[in-house]
Symmetry: C2
Subunit: 382 residues, 2 copies
């Protein structure tokens, strides 16, 4: 088995001029989506896997950019020749979601109707809107049915939505470290992060671009909160514990005393230099709103009555943001509908972040599952 | 059994002109402490209980203030005639800690050495400094030995410190929902809250008083983060879940959609109107620094070798801020020293907040423990 690298990749763009109706009632008259593909679409066009991204990721799943060091895609450990999602077998697609700050139409772009940067006027987008937009790209690529839709966290919600609303367009839904909806605590963390951004004087009601400033204070705090919830208490204790920066206490409320403070500040600083504040608001809101059972009186079993594909659900024991209990709710709803579902609860110490790491049991599971998918279309091939 | 009210109480002040040396190396040349007492000190002066306060509380434990509605002390459900800490039997003392914003000398006061408001120049204070200051008040009240020192959360840390450094001055240490030190995750939450305050442009490096402003944005975010960690995931789900404010979604990133958002914003607003930003920094830092085992090579068992009093430790099953596991660390260290220790792990849904609520098992336990203490001094009385 060779674990080759994908090598240099290039993002592509697709422009849409058919208006996209959004859940909010608004619509986008025209928009562009940036995407990347890896591997080859086979003759039967039945080996395509769509990978949906979560909060701060993008269409750049794997490979590197020409002349850019450390430009590996965010799921490069999973996707490539001989890797669990094997690009020698699968045609893998990553699409940057609407409202993102990594190339697809979003708040940093000019609103063609006003000639001004959207900023806070960019319409609120939902998981369903993203999926609708993704479906158009998939269609434009000539793919009638995806072998699988795969996603972790917010990406997992998109995969679930595909199974509910486009049941004929996928054969497998692979939803990792996700939930059927956010809990009150999840929403609470999102709301604190949003308040930090919105109340930053440099936010200017979401129209800070024209002022030549960025609400970095708010973005830093938002990212610090996020990082705490991505890691488990245990792994934070193992990695940082009460390690001091210096041998002696400095007795200061403002200077860094503990290594965990240094780590969080660094993560916050980094994030505030590349992430868009309006995008952060939009994406956390999409998370809050996702709740497919809402239209079914809160009954998740009834919700999944429309699904027909096969499912793989995976959760991680120490993930307190999207705990195994939330995945089990989905598994139960799927079983209530007599759907084909595999579920693995992986005992990993890394909290929610585990879905991005290459724990051998986790990657082994995905490898086996994708091999089974590949077997089916390889056998069907003439 | 009568559960009477204490009625109207009045805070008292004590002024100290003997300098207080602080752990940081600085010293306070002079300072005032505000305190309240409830019940009567008996002839043998052996029925006094000191109650230590946590982050946003004060010396005002019980009773009300003349002409002020809703001015009940923060532990009024526990302390009073016929209540678990029965003021018909005990003389109860509440002292506002140094650096607080509720009357004792703190950052809002004038530094006599400069004639200007301390602000960020107020020296960093530690749990040990607070306990040293409390010990002077207790001494000035003519009390050689306290029947008990009681505290929850940060107050529990003070109670533990009394047992370690003033072993002859107390017969019982009652430490509730506390920990022998903060975990990396605890410190992380404190640090995010501090950054929110310090990076608020209205903080002005901690000298905002002269500017006539208050860093309310930062205080709001800090308090919202705090509130998330005080409640359990479960109780938040039961109380708020995904309840919407309106029947229909508003599709807004800035307006309130979920009741949990409304609750958190309200708590943040309220807090930002009464709490001092510099005090918040000082108190969270005192929490971070508390780590009595540090001077004993991290060995908690060796740390408690100096203790001689009896202990009651209590924790709550759903408290993820100061989990039962942290209390058990202390219990183990006490048992290693063959100390007399009672420990109760109470199955309560309310998270860290449970220590302030009147769960019947919890209050029943405290009542029984205090009755046993009272019995001892009542039998000793002539």
């Amino acid at each position: 088995m060779t674990l080759g690298q994908i090598g240099v990749v290039r993002p592509q763009r697709m422009r849409f001029t058919t208006p996209l109706p959004l859940r909010s009632g608004a619509q986008l008259a025209q928009y562009e989506l940036v995407f990347e593909t890896y591997g080859q679409l086979n003759a039967r066009r039945d080996n395509a896997v769509l990978v949906c991204h979560a909060l701060n990721a993008s269409h750049h799943l794997a490979g590197t950019y020409e002349g850019e060091d450390k430009s590996e895609g965010w799921w490069d450990n999973l996707i490539g020749p001989g890797k669990p999602l094997d690009t020698d077998k699968f045609f893998v697609i990553g699409i940057n979601n609407l409202g993102s700050c990594f190339g697809s139409t979003g708040p940093m772009h000019v609103n063609p109707e006003t000639g001004r940067i959207y900023g806070a006027d960019f319409p609120v987008v939902t998981v369903q809107d993203w999926v609708d937009a993704q479906a158009r790209v998939v269609e434009a690529l000539g793919i009638t049915q995806l072998a699988a839709v795969l996603g972790g966290s917010l990406g997992g919600m998109q995969a679930l939505d595909w199974s509910l609303r486009y049941p004929d367009r996928l054969r497998h839904c692979i939803a990792i470290a996700t939930a059927p909806s956010l809990s009150a605590q999840n929403i609470a963390f999102n709301e604190v992060a949003r308040r930090a951004i919105i109340t930053d004087p440099d936010f200017h009601g979401g129209h800070f671009y024209a002022q030549g400033v960025v609400p970095k204070r708010g973005l830093r705090v938002a990212r610090m909160i996020g990082h705490i919830t991505y890691l488990s208490d245990d792994v934070m204790e193992q990695k940082f514990g009460r390690q001091m920066r210096a041998a002696e206490l400095g007795y200061s409320t403002q200077d860094i005393e503990f290594q965990i403070e240094s780590y969080l500040r660094h993560q916050g600083d980094k994030f505030s230099n590349y992430f868009d504040a309006n995008t952060y608001l939009l994406i956390t809101r999409a998370l809050d709103y996702f709740d497919p059972a809402r239209e079914h009186g809160g009954d998740l079993s009834r919700t999944f009555a429309s699904a027909t594909c096969k499912f793989l659900l995976t959760s991680f024991s120490t993930d307190w943001r999207f705990s195994p209990a939330r995945s089990r709710e989905i598994v139960k709803a799927l079983l209530d509908n007599k759907l084909d579902v595999s579920y693995a609860e992986i005992d990993a110490p890394h909290g929610h972040d585990a879905f991005l790491l290459d724990d051998p049991r986790y990657h082994g599971l995905l490898r086996a599952y994708f091999e089974r998918i590949a077997q089916a279309f390889e056998e069907a091939a003439p």
